[in-house]
């Protein structure tokens, strides 16, 4: 199920298959004919050759005009990151971030599998823009995905498409592995654990050099903007939040899809928001819950989501069915988040397990009433005091669950639960991090 699919047409020989002359047409990143991996020949036929600009920094004002923001979750303006790295010093490094440590998100893996050449195009263009010849791709450790990307890079090398050689780095399956400084640490040969900042990664990252880190979807958009221009990019989305993005949708019936949609799309067009859904999680496990009735009035935009305490993030939308226990779900995720702590900062490795234990208490029948007050106290103590935003994001998720599932908490206090069987809904990995080896 892909939202906004255009009807494929054969086109004339020599004409690109899907020239986006109809500017607002989707999909852009994903092929129109479905989730079929695109090889180099098809990619060049559809989009034309890689439009190197010929000079460093030339792409930056184009990206500024387009208003492209990062698609890794933070939504930082892309042109500013490029400018910062270009100015930070000599011999910068560019790394595409495809680690996708968020268990509820599949869009980066899907994009890497289906449209690797868009991402690799974006890497080359970003490298040219900051004057870098040291380029890498940081991926989650799936053997087939790694093989595919190795093959795609080899294909491009044989065709002489790439100017900078792309080296592949693999990430351990940790939630924090995709954090910028964790990425830099891993690429440097160490464990994928966040580092204290300053210095920022764009100043001193890989091998002590200024490092540009971009989510792979961001690079794919970059590659298209370089071809079709900022006006084309802005034809989709809203004025303040232009463009399209990939979303991972979790429907109440258990279906999971990766779709490409434009920013500003009503949430009810993406996930089922009828009586079968009680709440929607937006932004993944560092995101926030919204009651279904509220979500039904909102669009996929920070303008709508931020005032409600949520955000677009990396496009994870999970619609929790009405017959599941939201607190039990939140408790499962809280336990996962606690175990994914890198163990470096006291407030995190002490506070998150305590919060998770309190959540487990609340999720059980007739919980100790002190559990909620304990949790509120601990939440206040762990925020803003670590090397990364893991405790802050986790607290945001948990606090929103306490708020949205208040009625469920009251039910539990009476010894009842909407789902006594506690069937799990949200995806979580089966393995936890047990030792140092799990971070490398």
């Amino acid at each position: 199920m892909t939202y906004g699919t255009t009807v494929p047409h054969p086109g004339q020989p020599g004409e690109p298959l899907d020239r986006p002359a109809d500017s607002a047409a989707l999909p852009r990143l994903l092929p129109a004919q479905g989730a079929v991996p695109v090889d180099l020949r098809t990619h060049l036929h559809r989009f034309g050759h890689l439009p190197y600009t010929g000079r460093a920094a030339r792409l930056i004002p184009v990206l500024q005009a387009a208003g492209l923001t990062g698609r890794g979750g933070a939504a930082f303006p892309v042109h500013r990151k490029l400018a910062a790295v270009a100015q930070a010093g000599t011999r910068p490094v560019v790394i595409g971030n495809g680690a996708e440590g968020e268990p509820a998100s599949e869009k980066d893996k899907s994009l890497l599998w289906i449209s690797p050449h868009l991402i690799l195009d974006g890497l080359q263009l970003a490298a040219e823009a900051v004057g870098s010849d040291a380029v890498g791709l940081y991926l989650s450790r799936h053997p087939r995905l790694l093989d595919k990307l190795h093959a795609a890079i080899a294909e491009r090398a044989a065709a002489g498409v790439d100017r900078a050689t792309v080296e592949i780095f693999d990430a351990p399956p940790r939630f924090l592995a995709g954090e910028e400084s964790a990425l830099a640490s891993r690429v440097n040969g160490g464990p994928a654990r966040p580092r204290f900042k300053p210095p920022m990664v764009f100043e001193r990252g890989v091998a002590g050099r200024p490092t540009l880190v971009h989510n792979v979807e961001t690079l794919a958009h970059l590659a298209l903007i370089a071809r079709f221009g900022p006006d084309w990019f802005r034809a989709a989305g809203t004025d303040d939040e232009p463009g399209s993005m990939l979303c991972t949708l979790h429907q109440p019936d258990g279906r999971r899809d990766v779709v490409e949609t434009e920013l500003g799309t009503p949430l009810r067009s993406l996930v089922t928001l009828d009586g079968h859904t009680q709440a929607v999680l937006s932004g993944g496990y560092h995101g926030a819950w919204l009651p279904a009735a509220d979500a039904a009035r909102m669009t996929l935009s920070n303008a709508d989501l931020r005032p409600a305490g949520a955000f677009v993030g990396a496009g994870v939308l999970a619609a929790l069915p009405a017959d599941r226990c939201g607190i039990a779900e939140a408790a499962r995720v809280a336990r996962y988040l606690a175990l994914e702590s890198a163990g470096q900062c006291g407030p995190c490795f002490n506070g998150l397990p305590r919060i998770a234990a309190a959540m487990a208490e609340i999720a059980s029948p007739r919980p100790d009433p002190r559990a909620v007050t304990d949790m509120i106290r601990w939440s206040g103590l762990v925020q803003g005091r670590g090397a990364c935003h893991h405790p802050d994001g986790s607290v945001r998720f948990i606090r929103s669950a306490l708020h949205v599932f208040q009625d469920e908490i009251i039910l539990h206090g009476q010894g009842r639960c909407v789902d006594p069987a506690r069937r799990p809904f949200l995806p979580l990995p089966a393995d936890t991090a047990l030792s140092a080896a799990d971070w490398s």
Partner: protein, 212 residues
């Protein structure tokens, strides 16, 4: 003993605030040694230890300031304002007051870098913070030599107790270092420590309540 004149009042105040400063600095150093201990200090959660460490250090600076100013403005001995921060420039006991000045300089450096911790390189902050031991040692040496107060009686025992406490804490901390959990295992260990009610809690020995 003659009555307390204005001059002797300042002198007594300087000695008294000096003793209090030494006690506070010893307390700060102890808390600093213990703050990284894994597992719980009975009755003192970790955030209390760090909070106390910070607050006490600020209080210690206040008392050191009083100690230093009363000493400088005491007309009986000539010390001079400059000697507060620049060591060995005091006409009176230049060596031992110099040791005190060095200790003060270090304490100020520790506090300033700690207040600006978010803005400076963490490794630099950590490296500098090791100088806390030097600052405390300097304070002890200065206390012992700048006056004879701590050479006998209850103040001597106090001094010995301070030295014993810090030495003991450091030795204990070194012995614990080998037994610390690797960082990657800490969160799981804390989670194991928390047992949700209904699993191991003694209050739930009876048949488990059914959920309606």
């Amino acid at each position: 003993m003659s009555g307390i004149t204005q001059s002797t009042a300042l002198w007594y105040a300087s000695r008294a605030t000096g003793v209090v400063s030494l006690l506070l600095l010893t307390g700060v150093t102890l808390l600093g040694v213990l703050v990284n201990r894994q597992g719980r200090l009975p009755g003192l959660p970790r955030f209390v230890v760090t909070g106390l460490h910070r607050n006490l250090s600020l209080l210690a600076v206040a008392f050191v300031a009083l100690h230093v100013l009363t000493a400088v403005f005491d007309p009986y001995v000539t010390i001079g304002l400059v000697a507060i921060v620049i060591p060995f420039t005091s006409p009176y006991k230049p060596l031992w007051l110099g040791v005190g000045a060095i200790s003060l300089d270090l304490v100020v450096a520790l506090i300033v870098t700690s207040l600006a911790r978010a803005r400076i390189n963490r490794r630099f902050w950590r490296a500098l913070h090791w100088l806390a031991y030097l600052a405390w040692g300097g304070a002890v040496l200065h206390s012992l030599t700048a006056s004879t107060d701590l050479h006998r009686g209850i103040l001597l025992y106090l001094l010995l107790a301070c030295i014993a406490a810090v030495a003991g804490a450091v030795i204990w901390r070194i012995s614990q270092a080998g037994r610390e959990l690797p960082q990657e295992e800490r969160a799981a260990a804390t989670l194991d420590m928390m047992s949700p009610r209904g699993v191991r809690s003694p209050a739930r020995r009876g048949p488990r309540e059914t959920i309606r």
